[in-house]
Each structure stands twice: as structure tokens, then as C-alpha cells.
């Protein structure tokens, strides 16, 4: 299934809300949580991560991965947390509205 425009950002933010993680972990986490339903390529994911960094929603720092390699870890900034909340609310309201139409009366 194709990803709706702007969905990726909110998914990344949501994923980083649990704990700081590197890009690969974000990618795996999203794949697992969506159970493979959404076809998400990694290229747009990394683009989203850096775009979010530029916007000040996430901060990046080099760290050491589980297998002792240098990896870039991302974490949510307070501004990112606020952004996530706003987007989550918007998504829920959107989905509710769509469902209201789709549900049989």
C-alpha cells in the first residue's frame, strides 16, 4: 500500500518517542509495527530523519551501536514532542471523520 503524503514524518516521530535510536532501528521498528502492510523504502525514511533534524524536531548524535559500530542516533526534542502531539491529534480526527463516513449507519 502506498504511503499517504506526510504520514512518514509522524511515524518517525512516534517511533522516536519511545527512546533514541539509529536510522536502521527506526526502519525496522516501523516495518514491524505496520506488519509490512505499508511499503516504506529506506531512502525517504532517512530523508525524513534529516529533514526533521533541520526543522529542530529531532536531534542527532553519533553513538555506538549494539555491535560496537559508530551509528547516528536520533532523539526527539521538546519541539518534536509537541509536533508529534499535534500531528497525532490531527491524524486521529482525520481518521475518525473518514471512518464516520465509511462505517455503515
Amino acid at each position: 500500500m502506498e504511503l499517504l503524503q506526510g504520514t512518514l514524518d509522524v511515524l518517525v516521530l512516534r517511533t522516536l518517542a519511545w527512546e533514541p535510536m539509529h536510522g536502521y532501528a527506526v526502519s525496522r521498528s516501523i516495518h514491524q509495527r505496520t506488519e509490512g502492510v505499508l511499503e516504506i523504502e529506506d531512502a525517504p525514511l532517512y530523508k525524513a530523519l534529516h529533514r526533521l533534524e533541520r526543522a529542530g524536531f529531532v536531534a542527532a548524535e553519533w553513538g555506538v551501536s549494539e555491535n560496537k559500530r559508530r551509528a547516528r542516533y536520533y532523539s526527539l526534542t521538546p519541539a518534536g514532542r509537541r509536533q508529534l502531539k499535534a500531528e497525532e491529534t490531527a491524524w486521529r480526527r482525520y481518521a475518525e471523520a473518514v471512518f464516520k463516513v465509511l462505517e455503515p449507519v
Binding site: Y24, E41, H50, R54, N67, R69, T77
Partner: protein, 885 residues
Amino acid sequence: MIWGRLFRLPWRTSRQISRDVDEELGFHLDMRIEALVATGLTPADARVRALREFGDLEDARRYIGAVDRDIEASQRRNDYMRDLWQDLGYAVRKLGAAPAFTLAAIATLALGIGANTAIFSIVNGVLLREPAFPQADHLVRVLYSQQGHPDVSTPMDIVDDRTHATKFVGFSIIEGMTANLVRDGADAERIPGVRVGANWFSLLRVTPLAGRFFADGEDQTGAAKVAVISEALWRRDFAASPSVVGKLVRINSTPYTIVGVAARDNGYPFSAELWIPKVFTPGELNDQSRGARWLSMLARVRDDVAVSVANKDIEQVSALMETKFPEVFRERRAHLATVQAFTVGDVRKPLLIMLGAVAFVLLIACANVANLLLVRATARESEMAVRTALGAGRGRLVRQLMTESVLLSLCGATVGLAIAKVGMTALLSRAPQSVLLMTRASIDATTLAVTALIAVVTGVAFGLLPALQVAKNDLTSALRAGAGGVRSRPSANRTKRLIVVGEIALAVTLLTGAGLLLHSFTKLLSVDPGFKPEGALSLKLALPPRTYDSTRTRAFVAALEARARALPGARLVGISNMIPLDGSSYGFTFVIRGRPQPRSSDESSAEVRVVTPDFFSAMGTPVLQGRAITLADRPGTAEGIVINKAFADRFFPKDNPLDQALALGWGEDTGRVMRPIIGVVADMHATALAEAPEPTVYLSMAQHPMTSLSIVVRADGDPASLGSGLRSIVRDLDREVPVYSLQTMSERVAGSLGRERFFATLIAVFAAVALLLSAVGLYGVIAYAVTQRTRELGVRVALGASASRISRMVIGEGFALTAAGLAVGIAGAASVSKLLSTFLFGVSGTDGLTLLGVVGTLLVVAVLASWLPARRAARVDPLVAMRGD
């Protein structure tokens, strides 16, 4: 948790960013391949799958690289701004913590920068701003000189130049005039105006504010009488009404129609308020009249020709005319001066000198603040060491200190602007007439920009040295010594001393300049003007020549004299065609009886004055020989002539002047009537006190009534109180005669020295400020040296040095610095006095008295500045001093 970086990461280069991106994406792919291999795929298949899952790798690399570079750039900006804010905040706290230092530094800088702003704004308004005419750099005055002396133009010059010169758009003559302007229902008014060619305003390339300018042919005989007025006159007398166009006024008793108004910046000469066309009579435009010269000339050089080329052109024309008329035009040459250069000619050099003088003041101010900062830097060494230990780089420390000094100088500049504003008002109100254009000076955008620039450069200049000194510091020794309090390095002390020597040298140079100008000024003040200025009032008036023939003029003069004498408090009343120290000249050639007729270009000329019998006694000018003009010298009797001493000395050094007679090239009887010399009077300075009195002849007003008049009343009491009485007498006699230039003779003497007084006062103020600042600088260094040496002094006292010996030692140190500064300064002063030599009167550039005064002043200042620290040094208690650390 605070987000954003607590410690600054090193800035990344573009290449490093690409490398980081590759590493991040490489890590992802490796991780994925590893995971896929673990599920049983071959490494090659795993790689293909991982890449497919990833999507467009190249596009991602490019995109991410670009985003990261953005992030990096904005981070640098933020770091920079944060550092700046940090530095500023720190600087404000630090400066606030030392209010005495801060106030002293700001006050010093405000003085220096304020003075510079004031003078610069005047220089900017006078010298740098071009007149508002299009292509003003091609608008020139044509100037003549003959046998090395400045000469003016004859009407034929314009004919010659028009015929032979090829590099010009056009020429116009200028004839100065003062006009009696009479309009409906108002008193007559005396206004400055000019007569010009009809092409005048088209040469200037300006358009009228209202109405029109002159049309071709309006300067020809028989043309309608038209006039253009200035915007100032239009606003003052005609309430800026557009209906002024077509209005009829009377100018010198002739009706003229006002046709147009020239906007404020569009009029030339700048002082003119009225322009009327000059109509030449055929008698003025012929080869015989080439000797008669009284005009000036304006020209416009063709746009495609350089002024220097046109200058050569006009010079060749004058050379050609000399070959045609070798008698009258012997060694007569023309040259060009742009309108700009011509207008500011006499104030250009003094203004530049003043600009140099204020620059000196600013340098001294900088030196003082630099020294203050050096002292502070020593006191702050341990603070800086601690900051270095905590990881502040040297560059960072220098930057922080520079922020402090630039902040100081910006504060100084802000206060300085206020000083400049007040200073300018004071300066302009005292500016002499010849600095007339200064009214265009103001604190405008250019001045503000220059002030800001001065402030920043100043801040860097005085901040750099102390900042580098601090950065040179060696960490461990500073920390160790820091606990023991003030510590100093010999090199820092040497710097401070050198700075003070430099300051004193600058002050000496300025002081010498000021001393020379002031000495020259006192010499001018002591020049005998040839009359007694105290207790005399003078006033000028001009009878309209058209309505005043000689009979009517004679009657007017007699009535004026009689009624003025009847004024209560008036003792003596004299009337002349001109008043001394007026700056104007009325010279005519003459021939002495029994001597050979000289060639026309070699003829001597004398100033011609026409006076009433009481003129000399009213002026207080003694008759040296023979008699003055008396009542007996009335129309119809034989005409005698009175000469001044300069005339007698020059032309009759051996003969008795009373045996001689002259024929004047003046009046209806030009050169034909020999008049016997009947008396010799003392020399009155006709133009200026600085100029030697010209040979002058005096004729009887009754025999030669003049329409241009000056009246002098010697009063019993305060002469100024007679002014209104005199005014109303003239108004009663004829309402159309304007009264102007009402001044006591003392005011005239003072006014004639306006320029000299202005510049002498200005440089004296600068020199005083410079002296004060260097005295403070010297005091600072000596006082600081005493605190530093407290322990040493204590030892000396303990070993038996007497108090007087200690203070002698300290004062000696001040003297040594002063002497070094004097030596350097006097060398500098030599070149300054050369620069000033053209402005000096009766004083040589190497005037011993001035030099002695400068040295004396400096030594007194040195003693005063060292005395306070010396007293402190002498009171050092050895026990306290040695326990000190």
C-alpha cells in the same frame, strides 16, 4: 534537559558531512545485509535485496548531504550569535562592575569622537558636497591674473573667449551688486544680487521653482526689464505665493518684472537673492575699454572635454589676446577653477587642518583608553587564566575583549553624537561670513556612517593591543601569580610608557599649532587699525542712483549729517563712501605731476574715498601733515586731495607730499585735473587688519557726492544706543533708502577677524582637550607605577630614603616621560608650523616664544600629574608595604 549543544562541536567541512552521510547509510545497509544473511540468503542476494528495499540511494545521499549542510550553516550562525550575546552580556557585566573605569573611558572617547563628528560634518557639508547643479564639476569660474596678481574681467573678455575658445558650452559674466528692492507697502530692503548674462541659468542647467528663467536676448539693449528672485527672498517677502510671477518691483529705482524663482540649491552665487540681466552699453564693448575691469566670469566646459583641457584652451586664448593687445594685457593669463573649489577656496585648507587636529585628539583619546585597558588587563590576568583553563581559546578571549572595547567606543560614539550636535550649533553660531557655506553642514547619514566607522575602528585600535597582551599570557605563571594580586610584566609597562610618550608628543604638536595661531591672533588684535573703534557707531545706506543726481545727493548728505549730529549723545558725525575693514576695494589709477606717464599696465592705483569734513575726527584718525577736508572744500572751489601715510611713504619717500599734485583716473574729469595734495592722514586698514594699508586718496564729499554712503557717529556714551535714532532719521529723509550693516566700529574690528578668531579658538579648544587627556594619561601611568612599586618603595624607606627623595624619584619619572614626549612632539611641531605658515600674521613658524610657552605648559602639567602619585609614594609605610603581599 537543555536541548541544543552545551559544548560546541567542531565545525564540519562539506567533505566531512559527505563522509558522515556515507557512514550512516553504510551502517544501515550493513545491518540489513547481516540480518538477511542470518535468515539464510547468500551475501550477494542479501545485498541486492537490501539495496532494493532502500530505494534511490544516490538521491538520498544528495538530499541528506544538502540538508546537513543547511543545518551546519545555521548552527554556525547560531554559535556566532550566541557567542556575541554571551560576549556582550559579559562585557556589560564587566564594564558595569567597574563604573569609574567605564565612565572615564566613555567620556574620553565621547570627547574624541564627538569632536571628530562635529568637524567632519562641517567638512562634509562644505568641502565634500558638490553644488546641486547637473555636471557641477564642469561648471567653472574663469579667473585672470596679470603679472602674478589676481585680476578681474573686462566686458571684452567674454567676447574674446566666445570667439576663440572651443572647449566650452558657454560663458556668462557676473557683476556683483547690492540692490535696493522696493515693493508695494514695505520699507526698502537691501539685498545681495548679481547681474548676469541671459544664458546664466541654462549654463547652470537648472529649472525654475516657479515662472521662468531668462530668455535669449533679455540681456540686450531695449529688452524688457526682468528679474529672477531666490527661494529665500520669495518665502521671506512674498509668502511663497505663485502670483509673484509677473509682479512689478523697483530695483535701484528701476521697475522690473519678476519672471521666476530659483530654488534654494539652484541659485548661484550661493549668497545671491536676485538676478537681473546685465546689459552692456556699446561703450563698454570696444577695444578701448579693455583696461576697465570689474567683472567676474562663469563658464561651462563641454561635457566631453576634461576641465584640464579646457583650462589649457582658455590660457591659450589669453596668450593670444596678449599678442593682440600687448599694452593692456601684458602678462595677463586666464585659468579655471571649478565652482566648488572657488567657493570653498579660503576655508579649504583651514578646515582640513582642523580635521587633522581633531584626529590628533581622537588618537590621544584612544591612547588613553588603551592605557586604561592595559592596566585593567593586568588586573584581570588571573580571570583570563581561569577562563583559559576552562577551555576558552585565545581567539575567543581576544574576541571577547574586543567586544568590550568596541562596546565602549560605541557608547562613546553615542554620547559623542550629542556632544557633536551641541558643538556644531556652537561652532556655526561663531562661524565667520567667509565660512558662509557651512550652513549646509548637518549631521546626516554620511556623518552618522562615518561616526559609526570611527567608533568601530577606534574600538579595535585601542582594544587590540591590550587584548593581544592578555592572549600572550602564559597560563600557569598567571594562575600562580594571580593569588598574589597585581603582577606585571616589564613589557606591559614599556607599552604603557610608550603610549604616554606618544600622547604627549601629539599634544605638543597640537599645542604648538594652537600657540602659533593664538600668538598670531594677539598680534592681529594689537594692530593699530588707524582709527579709534571704541565709542563709534557706523551704518551703511545706498541712495538709488537713478533718482539721486548730485544736487539731491548733496542735499541728502547735508541733511543726514545735520540731523545725526543733533541726536542726543552724538558728538561727531562723518560720512564716507566706504567704511574701513569692509573687505571691499575701490581702486583707481593716478598720475603724479611732473613724473613720466607710465605704460598703462604699470600704472599705480590708489583707493579712492570721498569724505565729509568731520570724517577723520569722527573716526579718530589723526591728521599728520597739512589739513583734513574742510567745509571750505565745497563745489566750485579748487579741489584739494588728502592722502594717507602709506601713499606718502610709497610715492614721496623723499619729497614733501604737500608740494605735490595728482590726476586721478576717476570721476568725470578722468586724468585731466591736477589736484594739489593738501594733507596727510594716518593709515586706516581698508580691507583687513592683516593686510598692509593701501595707498589711499580722500576727496571732498561736497565736491563729489556719492550715492553709496557710510556714516560714522562718535558718541559720548554707548554708541549702540544711537542705532534706532539713526535708522529713523534715514527713514524720515527717504523711505526708499534702505539702511543696513548697522554696527559699532568695535564690532567691525572683531568681525573682520572672524575667520582668524574662529580657527584660533577651535584649535585652542582641541589643544586644551589634548593637553587634559595627556595629563590624565600621564597621571594614570605614574600612579599605577607607584602602586606596583609599593613594596620596593617600602624597602627604600626602610633603608633610609627620605620622603622628599622618594617623591623626587617619582616626579623624575614623570619628567622623563614628558621630556621624551616633548622631544618627539617638537619634531612633529616643525612640520605643523610649516603647514600653518600661510595663516600666521607677524609670527614665524619657529616662534621662540610659542615654543617656550609649550615647553613650560607641558612641564607644569607633568609636575601636576606626577605630584599626586609622588605624595602617595612618599607616605608609604615600610611595614605595611612589605607585609603587603
